[in-house]
């Protein structure tokens, strides 16, 4: 049992009860109409609701509405977060309706999707919200029955006092409970008493999804809404020169064409205000197809820009950022990366005397790895609804981190931050892309200009060529061996455009006596952003491929070799600062070894293993691959994850499966290249995505059961799969894979 201080205060309750009764509620009626869970036909609606706190209200018949505080992009938080509330409330899940909370940080804290931090950051606050509601219900019953509160028990929406044989439902006492003071602290359940957490519950939106109900940003509609699109420069390093909209304006249904500047002169920008193309041409009309057609008639002249600087207020405070001029090409990038990786880098970590170990080595192996830029390619292209009226704006948009965008949006519009009202719609994928909300600002500026509600739609081509990519990376690993063929040193030098993927204090740092980690980077005007497990998504594959080669040099089993290193890191760690827990890391390797029957079933299979730690969690994969007709076929992936307590196991399994498929797809095919600043792919006929026939035939996911508070899950299974693919391909073909994509582009089926 944990006792936690409640951080909900009465004022925020009152505020939200007012909101639930009128005002704000009208503002999010579109989402309120998308409430999920058993449908009204299956669940009798109460006559009256009683708001207990901002996260939940109880109906007079015992039906409970729980507000999902964070935006959903497929990670299941609209189900698993309400489960945390319901667990501590002790309510029957059948009687729970889930509604999306509006963007309202005072009531709901940090409302975001990213960094695999959702469940981790909500683990205590949401259980606390449920527990304090239960406390208030118990207190109301204690007053009603005149019995001590701690003699009252709760179960499935009922309060009972055994000694006096009395019972009452939550619904019947909700009105009194809502009047009770908020407890200063509450007790949270012991992990062994969980009824809901750890038991799979179906996606609350399942029925709405399979019947095609409106819920995504692109589905949003408002009275009098116009459709808008933008034309952005065809290449990076370019900006707007002039445009001629005469022919486009003459097309049917077109209302207006004009240029917009996303930011005002000198405006403060944050770390997530990345935008390669702040000057664009907007085209507004009455329907999507009409605007698409007219856009083809738009004549725009683009010009190269000169190097410029901007001030960014990010994690590290204010920083000046230089955006270099130039039309960049992937071929030149390759040459630059090779040059820089041959020079000394910035030393990020040095243990022992690596230089000496390499000098004295009997044998040194050196391998270089690379990966290209990647586009996120969320299935739902970027889009936003906006309606500016005077100094107010109403937004409905698929966005991962609204709180990062709102100040910039307000500044761009020149309105107070409080005048931004936002619905967080479901997102058709995010993967980091939707942490960067320039499209929302564009929509708002367009709405302001045409003085009407507007939905800005990116076409797939707009989406794929607008930037915010996964950076291009390069890493060189070296290992030194002495005359007894013992491993004596490891050296990694890693860099990228525009950032290095290095995590200097992660494994195998801590397990190697002589260790050197260096990094470098090359600035670029091609914009990059978070992409599922930033940096890890490359370095994990490089490191795990290299360790596979080292194990082979040593004549050791790849899993046994990693476990040996981890034992060293645990028993006698090298250096002070090692980011990972060697025990938990070893735990996933042991679990995947056992579940894949690595030690007795590997005969005749081409198996690759890889493991990694990121986002506070541990993941390991064994991937079985066959070559058929010259193409790799992934037969099976066995996966072990340690992310602490798993709230909704089947949904968590689904997300791990997704990370595995995503990683295999990108390892095989993912690639975006540039020529003179222009992205060389703009739609799925060129950009190859993994499809059904290429997905693993079977995925077998296992979670370590250890009762540790939840850590990340959306990202951790993704990075190591690249290494598992590479290592399995080596076993199948005898050829090591160093450069992603491993297969490249071949004809895409359609």
């Amino acid at each position: 049992m944990t006792v936690v201080k409640t951080s909900l205060n009465r004022r925020s309750f009152l505020k939200s009860s007012v909101a639930a009764g009128g005002g704000l509620m009208l503002g999010f009626s579109w989402l309120a109409s998308c409430s999920s869970g058993p449908k009204e036909t299956e669940l009798v609606m109460p006559e009256e609701w009683f708001t207990i706190n901002s996260y939940l209200k109880i109906g007079d018949n015992g039906v409970v509405t729980i507000y999902a505080p964070n935006p959903e992009f497929g990670q299941n938080v609209r189900t698993s977060m309400p489960m945390l509330v319901a667990e501590e409330l002790d309510v029957d899940w059948k009687n729970v309706l889930v509604e999306q909370a509006p963007y309202h940080p005072t009531d709901y804290g940090m409302q975001f999707t990213g960094g695999s931090r959702g469940i981790m950051s909500r683990w205590e606050p949401l259980r606390m919200a449920g527990a304090s509601a239960r406390h208030m219900l118990k207190q109301a019953a204690a007053e009603l029955w005149q019995v001590p509160m701690d003699e009252i028990e709760t179960k499935a929406g009922m309060l009972t006092h055994k000694a006096t044989a009395q019972e009452i439902s939550y619904g019947a006492i909700a009105s009194q409970a809502a009047e009770m003071p908020v407890p200063e602290e509450v007790e949270l359940k012991d992990i062994n008493d969980f009824q809901l957490i750890g038991h799979s519950k179906k996606n609350v939106d399942g029925k709405d999804i399979v019947t095609g109900q409106p819920m995504f940003g692109v589905d949003y509609k408002a009275e009098g809404m116009m459709i808008a699109m933008i034309a952005h420069p065809p290449g990076f390093g370019m900006t707007l020169d002039s445009f001629d909209g005469t022919d486009a304006m003459a097309m049917p249904g077109i209302r207006d064409i004009f240029a917009i500047s996303t930011y005002q002169e000198g405006q403060d920008k944050g770390g997530f205000d990345t935008n390669a193309f702040p000057e664009v041409v907007a085209i507004v009309g009455s329907s999507t197809w009409e605007v698409m057609q007219a856009k083809k008639k738009l004549k725009v002249n683009w010009k190269p820009f000169a190097t410029y600087k901007e001030m960014i207020s990010g994690w590290r405070g204010k920083e000046e950022k230089t955006i270099p001029a130039g039309l960049e090409s992937s071929e030149k990038h390759k040459v630059k990366m090779a040059t820089l990786s041959a020079k000394p880098g910035r030393v990020a970590r040095r243990d022992g005397d690596p230089e000496r170990a390499f000098r004295d080595a009997t044998k040194v192996i050196e391998r270089s790895y690379s990966a290209p830029f990647l586009a996120h390619n969320c299935m739902e292209p970027m889009n936003s609804f906006a309606h500016v009226q005077g100094d107010k704006v109403k937004i409905a948009t698929p966005l991962q981190i609204p709180s990062f965008l709102v100040p910039t949006l307000a500044a761009s519009l020149g309105i107070p931050v409080e005048n931004v009202e936002m619905d967080m719609t479901r997102m058709g994928g995010g993967f980091g892309r939707r942490a960067y909300g320039h499209y929302v600002i564009e929509a708002a500026l367009i709405s302001k200009q045409v003085n009407a509600p507007v939905k800005l739609m990116y076409t797939r081509e707009d989406d794929m060529t607008n930037g915010i990519y996964r950076p291009a990376y390069h890493a060189t690993y070296r290992a030194a061996f002495d005359q007894d063929n013992q491993l004596t040193a490891i050296h990694v030098k890693a860099g990228g455009i525009p950032e290095s993927p290095l995590y200097a204090n992660r494994f195998p740092a801590g397990a190697i006596d002589n260790y050197l980690a260096e990094d470098w980077s090359i600035n670029s005007n091609i914009t990059i952003g978070a992409f599922r497990a930033p940096r890890s998504n490359f370095i994990a594959g490089a490191e795990q491929s290299f360790l596979d080669e080292v194990a082979e040099e040593l004549g050791k089993d790849p899993i046994a070799f990693r476990l040996e290193l981890l034992k060293r890191a645990k028993d006698n760690p090298v250096g002070e600062k090692n980011d990972y827990d060697a025990d938990r890391y070893a735990g996933v390797l042991e679990l995947v070894r056992d579940k894949s029957e690595w030690n007795n079933k590997s005969e005749g299979l081409h198996r690759g293993v890889a493991a990694y730690f990121c986002h506070n969690s541990y993941a390991a994969h064994v991937l079985d691959l066959e070559i058929k007709d010259g193409q790799p076929v992934v037969q099976k992936v066995t996966c072990a994850i340690d992310c602490g307590v798993v709230v909704n196991p089947d949904a968590a399994t689904n997300m791990a499966e997704g990370g595995i498929v995503d990683g295999i797809g990108n390892a095989f095919y993912g690639e975006l290249t540039f020529e003179d600043g222009v992205p060389q792919k703009n739609n799925f006929h060129e950009y190859r995505m993994i499809r059904m026939s290429e997905a693993p035939k079977e995925i077998d996911v296992h979670f370590v059961q250890n009762g540790i508070d939840p850590t990340g899950l959306g990202e951790p299974p993704f990075p190591p799969i690249f290494g598992a693919v590479a290592n399995a391909m080596y076993r199948a073909t005898g050829k090591r894979q160093y450069n992603q994509p491993f297969l490249g582009n071949k004809e895409v089926l359609g």
Partner: protein, 152 residues
């Protein structure tokens, strides 16, 4: 502009649009049937899949002018209560992650089962290869199709 008559989900609809407008945009912009999704506009992703006379078609690449007299079914009309065996199987396997591709996946799967009641893995791969799922729910989709085949 032309007046076009369409039969959608068993209802006759009359719309006044440029006859070259793809069915997808007529559904989404003019008829408020937004379950059918836009993903690529060039018949490469399957998000816009509907049935035309029972066959899975990419609505983003079908001008409405050729569709008069044909029976069009969208995800909203696949069943009355969301209880088509494919929809039920999707819920049983809890297939969706973000869910954006799933209407298209379901329409492709339902069309497959209509002409092949007991598809092999190979048949499923072939029929479903035109539908991208960026979230990577392919193994669940395949399992759900097999369940739906058993239950229909």
């Amino acid at each position: 502009m032309a007046t076009i008559e369409l039969s959608i989900n068993g209802q006759q609809k009359e719309i006044d649009v440029d006859p070259n407008t793809p069915l997808l945009w007529v559904l989404r912009d003019h008829l408020d049937l937004v379950g059918t999704k836009y993903g690529c506009g060039i018949a490469q992703c399957g998000a816009c899949t509907v049935h035309v006379d029972g066959v899975a078609m990419r609505s983003c690449s079908m001008p409405v002018q050729g569709l008069a007299g044909k029976k069009i079914t969208t995800i909203e009309g696949l069943s009355d209560n969301g209880d088509h065996p494919v929809q039920q199987a999707w819920i049983a396997h809890d297939v969706p992650q973000c869910g954006y591709c799933q209407a298209g996946q379901i329409m492709s799967a339902a069309a497959l089962l209509k002409k092949n009641a007991n598809p092999s893995d190979q048949d499923i791969d072939t029929a479903m290869n035109g539908n991208i799922c960026r979230c990577g729910t392919y193994t669940r989709i395949k399992a759900a199709i097999k369940t739906a085949a058993k239950n229909s």
